[in-house]
Symmetry: C2
Subunit: 338 residues, 2 copies
C-alpha cells in the first residue's frame, strides 16, 4: 500500500460500503491508505481490507484531512452534513446519496454514459440512483444511435435496495412464514415476503414516489436529454439482490431488435442475454455479484411505429451503487482530478 | 339440490377447478346435480361440495349427458378433445383454456365488459387469460369513457398461475433455501424463489411469449377494440397468489386521475385502493381470496399528452379464472341460454 491515493469509505459497514471495499479489492485499485468511516456507534469495529485489519473510525472533519477521495455510502442527511466538511479539507467526494444529485454544480455520472462530466466537478460528484443507473446503461446506446423520445419503465426492485436491513427483513419474514409466525414489517411498509409493494421512497405531491421521479430527473441529467420523457412505476419485489426493469422505448428513428442487440453487445458494461430458443434472458438470481447490466427480451414493440421492448437486470449494489462509484473514483485518479 | 341446473366441473381437482367449486358454494349457485370430472387417474377421489361428498369421475362423453353446463378447468389439449363431446351432448361449455378463445365462433367473455357476447354462443364460451381479465377490468371503463389508443403493460404474475404444481414448487424451493439445499426447478424454467422469470408460456416466432400475445389478441376481442395497441411484458414473480400489473395508458381524449378513480369506483367488480398519504395501494398479499380487481397508484402520465398510469392486482385464480367462469354460467342460466 505504498503507491496510490488515500481513500476513505464513509459508511464502510453498510451494504454499499462493504461492496465498495470488495470492488476496490477486486480491481486492484491503487490505494496508499484506506480509511473506513462510519457512525460513531460503530467506531472500533474491525474491517478486513486486502491483508489489512482496518479499524472503523467515526466520520468527521479530521478524518477527511487524511484522504484524497472519499466514497460516501450513507443516507442523504449524513451526506449533506459530512460532504461539505470533506470538500473543505480538499477531499473529493463521490456521493451515493440523493443529497447532491440534482444540484447544478454537481456532476451526476455513469462512467459509460457521461464520463466527461467528471472533469468539471467542484469537490462533489454524485452517484445516481440504482434503478436509474441500470436503465441508462441499457438505453443510452440506443439514444445515441436513433434518439429516444419516451421511456415507460416498470421496476422489480430487490430488498437489498434498502440495505442490509432490507435483506434481513426478507430473511426474517421467510423464516416467520416457514414457522407459521405472522411476518413483522419494519423496514418496508408491509410484509415483502411473497408480496409486492408498489411504493419505494416517499410519496410526493404528484402521487409519484421519489424513487419514480429520480428515474425521470436523473436520467435526463445523466444523458443530457432534458426533453426525454420517462413514465416510471417502481415496485419492491421479494428478491434479495439485483433489480429488474421492464422497459418500453419510443425512438425517434427506426431501429430493429437485432440492431439493438448489436449495439448493446458492443457497449462496455452491458451483456446481452437474449435467446428465447434457449430460454436465455436475464434473471436476478444469476446477475448478482456481477458488475454488468444484463439485457434481454429485446423485441419490436408493435404498438407504435418506432418501439422497442426490453428487460434489464443488474446487481444494484454493484453497478447500481458501489461499482459505479469506484469507476468514477478511477477516472478522478487517472485524470488527476483530486 | 332439487332446484337448479346440472353442472359439471371438468378438472375438479386442480387449482382452478377447486376454486370454481368454492365460488359456486359461496354464491349459492342453484345446482340440482354437481358432477366432478377429472383425469381417469383421479377418478374415485372424494370432493366435498356443500354438505355432499362427490366422487370424481373420469371425464368423457357419457358424463356430459348428465350435465346442462360444464365448467372446464383443464389444459388446452384436453379442452380441445372433450369440449366437442360435451357440446354434442347438449352441454354448454365454459372453457378456461386457450383452446377456443380466438375462435370467431366462440364468444370470449368478461361479464362486466361484454356480457352481450354470451347470447350468440354455439355451445362453447371461452373464459379469457387471467392477466387479460385483470387488465380489461381495470381499463375498459376508461376505454368506454375517453377511448384507449395504446396500453403498455408489465405483469408480476404469481406462481399459482401454473396451478397447484406452481404453488408447491415455490413452497419446496423456499424450504430448500431455508435448509441450505439447491432449489430444483420442475414447473418453471428456473428457480422462482427469490428470482424473476420473464417467460410465461412458450416463445413465439416474434420473440413474444404466448402469454404476452394473449394480452394483445384477447384484449382486442373482449373489448371489441380491434385497433387497440397493447405492448405487454409478462414476468413470473415469487408470490403465491394474485397477479399484479403496471399499466400505462394512452387515451384518445383527456381524463384526470380523479376522473379515473371516480369511474373505476362505480365499476362493479373493481375496488379502488388509492391513497398514497395513507400508504394505500393494492398488494397481492391482501387481494388473494377476493373476487374483485383492485386498482391504485393512479397518476397522470406526464410523458405524453393524454396518459394515465395505474397498478392493478387481483386473485388470478378467482376473477382471473374461477369467478369469471361462474359469472358467465350465471348469465347462461338466467338467460336460459343452455
Amino acid at each position: 500500500m505504498s503507491e496510490g491515493i488515500r481513500l476513505a469509505v464513509v459508511g464502510a459497514t453498510g451494504a454499499v460500503g462493504q461492496q465498495m471495499l470488495k470492488v476496490l479489492e477486486e480491481r486492484n485499485f491503487k490505494i496508499k491508505d484506506i480509511i473506513c468511516l462510519a457512525d460513531p456507534r460503530e467506531a472500533g469495529t474491525e474491517i478486513k481490507f486486502r491483508d489489512q485489519a482496518v479499524i472503523v473510525q467515526a466520520a468527521g472533519a479530521e478524518a477527511f484531512k487524511e484522504a484524497d477521495i472519499a466514497l460516501f455510502a450513507v443516507g442523504t442527511d449524513i451526506s449533506k452534513e459530512l460532504a461539505p466538511l470533506a470538500v473543505a479539507n480538499n477531499c473529493v467526494v463521490i456521493d451515493n446519496s440523493y443529497a447532491f444529485r440534482l444540484d447544478d454544480g454537481v456532476p451526476l455520472v455513469v462512467p459509460e454514459v457521461n464520463p466527461e462530466d467528471i472533469q468539471w466537478h467542484k469537490g462533489i460528484i454524485a452517484n445516481p440512483n440504482c434503478s436509474t443507473i441500470i436503465m441508462v446503461m441499457a438505453i443510452n446506446p440506443i439514444h445515441r444511435a436513433v434518439g429516444l423520445k419516451r421511456v415507460v419503465v416498470s421496476t422489480y426492485q430487490a430488498v437489498s435496495g434498502a440495505g442490509i436491513a432490507g435483506l434481513e427483513e426478507l430473511r426474517r419474514q421467510v423464516d416467520d412464514w416457514a414457522n407459521g409466525r405472522e411476518p413483522a414489517a419494519e423496514v418496508f411498509q408491509y410484509p415483502i415476503s411473497f408480496n409486492l409493494i408498489p411504493h419505494i421512497d416517499s410519496f410526493l405531491d404528484n402521487d409519484y414516489t421519489r424513487e419514480e421521479m429520480k428515474m425521470v430527473w436523473e436520467t435526463r441529467k445523466i444523458m443530457h436529454a432534458p426533453s426525454l420523457q420517462v413514465a416510471p412505476t417502481t415496485v419492491r419485489v421479494p428478491v434479495y439482490r439485483s433489480h429488474a426493469e421492464s422497459i418500453a422505448l419510443e425512438t425517434i428513428n427506426a431501429i430493429t431488435p437485432q440492431e439493438v442487440r448489436d449495439l448493446l453487445s458492443k457497449q462496455s458494461g452491458v451483456i446481452v442475454q437474449d435467446d428465447p430458443a434457449r430460454n436465455l434472458y436475464p434473471m436476478p438470481l444469476y446477475c448478482s455479484d456481477h458488475d454488468e447490466v444484463f439485457v434481454g427480451r429485446i423485441r419490436k414493440d408493435n404498438s407504435i411505429e418506432n418501439g422497442i421492448l426490453l428487460w434489464a437486470v443488474s446487481d444494484q449494489i454493484r453497478k447500481g451503487a458501489a461499482t459505479n462509484a469506484v469507476q468514477i473514483a478511477k477516472i478522478v485518479v487517472e485524470k488527476g482530478l483530486y
